[in-house]
Symmetry: C2
Subunit: 153 residues, 2 copies
DNA sequence: CGAAAAATTGACGTTGACGTAAACTACGTC
DNA sequence: GACGTAGTTTACGTCAACGTCAATTTTTCG
């Protein structure tokens, strides 16, 4: 009912969306409740329909949460900002004043910079941990050899 | 009262310990409550005394929590394991049966391997995010130039 | 020594991020 | 067109990781 060949082939129900992304249906409804992820459509009867873009957004949210350790509030801000930028492309022809465009771009760049610094910090910390862990692993191997020589039970 | 020159110069009260490690005193008491970090000493009157080793442990806990995203239960297990290994060194002369030594070593190696894989996974995810972020940053710069050319307000 | 500052234990409160139960409705299918 | 599965809203429950009193010592310092 949309337009071309199979344009609404990306109509996934909440159960499928949850299963394929590894979150619960409750989580998806909760994300909508707090305005984090509003599914791109609904069925006639009112059932949520998740598009591929929605699924990507879910993964994005989980990445920000698990990899960067952001809470849902921070994630919401990040997404709001990204959405604003996406809106620029979509409404390119519409009359978005230059000043507003500039604002959005500045905020996006700002958030981008902050996130890159967070990523850098995490990478540093991880590298340090990795070094420590490998040092320990080496010591463990040595210890194991010693124990093994004395008594290979 | 301990032994040498200034062996108990590492006697820090909970407030100092909290301030220097960046956690709250409540957090330190909570960590003790759940057996995560029992301060190495107490004053005559019952005030907690934190040693340098305790401080290092606090940092270690926060690292595991913030960098690796472990919850306090997992962290406790990791620490318990590390403590067991440390115990081996301390009680080296005491009669720790070889079989027990072996068990401890195996568990430590096991946890070490798991942690290394977690670290590796995080590093991969971070690298991917970094690439994405830098790609976006580049696009933002391009956009900024375009906007700037049209109107350098 | 005496008062202010800091600690102690105990208990209840809070916040984020969902889980779970209930009562009802929509959807595919035989 | 009945029926079982999945989805909807509403609402209360939960769990981790602390926060926040409150009443009572301890410790430090002038």
């Amino acid at each position: 009912m949309t337009a071309a060949g199979r344009p609404d082939s990306d109509a996934m129900r909440i159960g499928e969306a949850a299963a394929t992304t590894g979150v619960s249906t409750r989580t998806l409804r909760f994300y909508e409740e707090i305005g984090l992820l509003v599914p791109s459509g609904r069925s006639a009867g009112g059932a949520r329909r998740y598009s591929e873009a929605d699924l990507a957004r879910i993964h994005h949210i989980r990445d920000l949460q698990e990899v960067l350790g952001f809470d849902l509030g921070e994630i919401k801000e990040v997404l709001r900002c990204e959405d604003a930028l996406g809106g620029l492309r979509t409404e390119y022809r519409a009359g978005v004043p230059d000043r507003r465009r500039h604002e959005i771009l500045v905020e996006a760049s700002d958030i981008n910079a902050r996130m890159r610094s967070v990523v850098a910090a995490k990478q540093e910390a991880l590298a340090a941990m990795q070094a420590e862990l490998e040092e320990k692993a080496a010591r463990y191997r040595t210890l194991a050899r010693q124990l093994g020589q004395v008594r290979t039970d």
